[in-house]
Symmetry: C2
Subunit: 216 residues, 2 copies
């Protein structure tokens, strides 16, 4: 039997630091500096080697650099974000409007990540139909961590109408947008999540969210 | 401005190796050896520091060691897997039945991971309502990678009826099961995903799933 790779405490610490230093980066921190091809390759490699339900690998990635396409995607963000602002009340609405929430055109590289449902049953997805979507999300999280390790910022933009995005990049009706990602070098990474620093919401600790054996 | 942590190529390589060596581990490879408390702490830390839409952190984790509870969860797996087998035809069904697909009772530690929807609007979730579920999935992927770095195997069991799991551990109706995870030390990690080795499905490469600028 082949000997498995064992990681040591130094290596565990590296992963811990990558996890703790990962941030959602928005347009006010991206630099006007292209992402090198070998860096893009590594980010895609991380996605391609994510876990997937029944080894279905139900993902597709559309790498977008074209400025015209990104301008059109940004229009969908503006429409959706204006609608979203209406949902927040009073002070929260004022805060929402002030936030910079995407970096679609400021970052040099976007990747639209799609879920492509398979025809027929998928092993592991028969009782929990969302498992394919979750596999694609695991790919995105792998890309996020790899991106951070490469000192490249990533922002996940979800304030978009998937139908509008599909129109702009000709995505087939069978495909479902899971994440629209912006990548770029940055002037800095915040020490904590920006929404934590701004007190938009409070951090949850272990005692808040971990239960033992069962709910009471 | 605080100086941000920059990672070097050695550290990037560590993450790459963790990603490439991560596996879904099932009951035929778990060892009868408990997970130490500090190891569990690190796995939970990885989940708690995942990205979340609007910093909502919409996750809860139920840590399960009790054998009786795990036996009850396993019953749900057996029921669901028998139903699933019926969906596959001929040779695929024969293969399915032979597969070991979970390690609920062979692993010493299970964690049920729940999505707890927030009342009121969530920043970033207004146009794509699944974003909360995807945040919880990012937490699971962080836990999976940290677990692998700690040389602990993890298996994600999705062949379960979430309603049955909820009954067994008293999960509130408002909570939604995203992943049921099994953790344990293992006798080995496969060099490739088990379902790839068994030719259940074929690996997808970059040229199969990466597109540029738009779909044609």
């Amino acid at each position: 039997m082949e000997k498995s790779r064992l990681f040591n405490s130094e290596e565990q610490r590296v992963l811990e630091e990558i996890i703790l230093n990962r941030r959602d980066v928005r347009g006010n921190h991206f630099l006007d500096k292209p992402i090198e091809d070998d860096v893009l390759e590594k980010i895609l490699m991380a996605g391609l080697n994510a876990p997937s339900v029944g080894f279905s690998q139900p993902w597709e990635f559309v790498v977008i650099k074209d400025k015209d396409i990104r301008n059109k995607i940004k229009k969908s963000f503006e429409t959706e974000s204006a609608k979203a602002a209406e949902l927040f009340e009073d002070e929260k609405q004022k805060e929402y409007i002030k936030l910079k929430l995407e970096g679609i055109t400021e970052s040099p590289l976007n990747i639209a990540v799609y879920y492509v449902p398979k025809k027929g049953p998928v092993l592991g997805q028969t009782s929990m139909p969302d498992m394919g979507r979750f596999s694609v999300t695991c790919a995105i999280q792998n890309m996020w961590l790899m991106s951070r390790a490469l000192n490249v910022g990533m922002g996940w933009v979800s304030i978009l109408d998937p139908k509008e995005v599909a129109k702009v990049i000709n995505a087939p009706d069978s495909h479902e947008l899971i994440g629209y990602l912006c990548f770029g070098y940055t002037d800095m990474f915040y020490e904590k999540p920006e929404l934590e620093i701004l007190k938009w919401d409070e951090r949850k600790y272990k005692d808040d969210v971990v239960f033992y054996e069962k709910y009471q």
